[in-house]
Amino acid sequence: MIKVHTIPGGIHPETHKSMSNGSAAERIPTPDRLWIPVSAGLKYESEPIVNVGDSVKRFTQLTQPKHAFAVASHSPISGTVAAIEMRSVVAMPERQVLMIAIDNDGNNESERRAPMALDELSGAQILDRISRSGIQGQGGAGFSTQIKIAASKQVTHLIVNGVECEPYITADDRLMRDYSDDIMLGIQCIAKAMQLTQITLGTEDNKPQAFEAMQNAAAAANINMQWGVVPTKYPSGSEKQLIQLLTGQEVANGKLPADLGILMLNVGTLAAIGRAVVHDEPVTERLVTITGEACERPGNYWVPLGTPIDALQTFAKDGAKAQWIQGGPMMGVRVTDTTAPITQVTNCLLIQPAVKSTSEMPCIRCSACYEACPMQLLPQQLLWHAKSNNEQKLKAHNLFDCIECGACDYVCPSDIPLVQYYRAAKDELRAAESDRVRSEHARNRFEQRQARLERIEQEKIAKREARKKAAEAKKAAKQVDSDTTTSDKPKAGLLAAAMAKAETSKAPALSAEKLTKQVSNLEAQLIHQQQLLEEAGDDEKRAKIDARIKNTRIKIDQAKAKLASIDDQEQPNA
């Protein structure tokens, strides 16, 4: 026995446990059709690996996890896959998830298993068997056990949670009494795989028989354990509260038990681990407490996972009027759709007579909720801010530290359903956060797209500029070429050549010597032509020679005129 510490807050409701814990667990007749949710955790996705029409046996794997936190599901019965479709879950008719229907063929065939003694299994093999058996925390939260273990690398201390503090529920009590060997196997598996040095069982003082059974089983299995019996008080079985009760240490805001070197597992989870590792049997059923004031045969029952709540209607005394609650009276949720299936987190089905509800009255600031809160939050402040959805204030008052135990609801004299406000506020805050992340992402993508379009446009402009410059440079280069060589540009070249020729042909005319020579030549030509004229016979030849003579004469006159002008220019100089 170890010294037990205390926790703040908490309440002492009537436990009503004797209603259901009197007899050993029984089996319910297997229903004709089971509905197995594809994504067991709802939030973390898996995908089906069977098709409609496939025949399956007990333990056939039905789904493959897609998300690291998701777990696989296995068929609890032998039969045929009848449908894979969207169906609503227990608490929210609007929230539909994909489910696989298995029709029972009544043959009760199992897939061949590979049981092994614990001594023959290595630590890695143990962890592998746990990870493929689809085990979720059976205490209520349903977190993937494989991930919880993987995140607990530095852990040396295992706390076995057998407190079960919520009223009415006795599944863990009965499990400890009747299946302590399975629990011990689970403890040995975890102790071996994780090389633990310290193992503590925590249980409440209202379960003496369960405590004794566990002590006997530990002695038989030769396990050295510490024993912590906490006084009956709700919510002592909550993870953080039990750690504080047994070790005196608080799990700080934002920290995990693993940061204190502690791993806590529920007795149900440990029994499932024991069966999964040693018998190689995945989780396909769980112990469910079916109880309540309107319940016909209260007790604990092994229920195949996927059993629709409808198949359990015979347990209700007055079927139509009864109010079904999944979970206990404190933390449970109202069953809004009785076609919804039992899952690994269904520790209890509470059947209560439908009572006309008292309506919520205004908060009178009595602060009873503050005194009851085991997390030392300020429930009435949280209520104001949840009603006005004041994100900053809710965060400042540590809304996310709320464990939703419902102690504040229980003590509230105004019957305010405080936890419901907190659940809604948490969902709103989570949704707002994911919207923010999404819009930030969209903004980035939009801006990057704008930047890319801008860059492409700039590149186009730059290319156009470059082409324009290149064209201008080419043009300029050609201009320079044509200035130096005439051959390139035929027209301009010819013109220039003609001009140059004209220049050169003009120049000799200006020289007096050449002009006199020309005149004498032309005069000689004229004499010759006159001779030809006299010799010529017919009129045709005469006309031709006449024209030539005239031409020559004009040339002589021009030459003489030029000569005269040169003489005129030269005379003043002389």
Partner: protein, 187 residues
């Protein structure tokens, strides 16, 4: 005379300090625009009449009405009103209606001819495809802005409710169950 000199000295000193601060601690751009932009839903849908959320944020900062954003709806209007310290008007329905369900574009792939028109219209590059090859919408990137629907020549794009967790049902305030042995069921 001394008083005058003292005042002159003080004004000079303060002038220098203020002048220095003006240069040293100058804020680039308009910080209000960033704050407003952070509140807008970033669908980039243009229903407000501006080419994207940031231009609308700039317009709001320079005095435009804050109720032109249907994707953001009343919560966005409220938070912008809160930021600017004005009364929150209701959504201007002229620009569109607020929807409870978040929609995303979906391409009916057999009818897609690979024209790339929707790809060019998408403000967040959420459509994958190439010329004469089938296109598809990457759901997680789609903001549901609707801009790809009109350009499609074969009308093969429709807006469907998102299935990637945006429309997951949430807990509502309050709808409680029995607490304690009193058997009370809250409605």
């Amino acid at each position: 005379m001394v008083e005058l000199l003292a005042l002159l000295l003080l004004t000079t000193i303060f002038g220098v300090v203020l002048g220095y601060a003006n240069v040293k601690y100058r804020v680039e751009g308009d910080p209000v625009v960033d704050q407003i932009d952070a509140l807008l839903p970033q669908t980039q849908c243009g229903q407000c009449g501006h080419p994207g959320c940031r231009p609308y944020a700039e317009a709001i900062a320079s005095g435009e009405a804050i109720n032109k954003c249907p994707p953001g709806g009343q919560p966005t209007i409220n938070s912008i009103a809160d930021l600017l310290g004005v009364d929150a008007p209701s959504l201007d329905e002229e620009h569109g209606e607020e929807s409870d369900i978040q929609l995303v574009a979906f391409i009916d792939e057999p009818n897609c001819i690979g024209c790339t028109k929707c790809i060019q219209a998408c403000p967040v590059d959420a459509i994958l495809g190439a010329a004469k090859l089938m296109h598809t919408v990457i759901e997680s990137e789609c903001t549901g802005c609707d801009l790809c629907v009109d350009p499609c020549p074969t009308d093969c794009i429709e807006m469907i409710p998102a299935t990637d967790g945006r429309n997951v049902a949430r807990w509502k305030q309050p709808d409680l169950i029995a607490t304690s042995e009193r058997g009370i069921v809250h409605d």
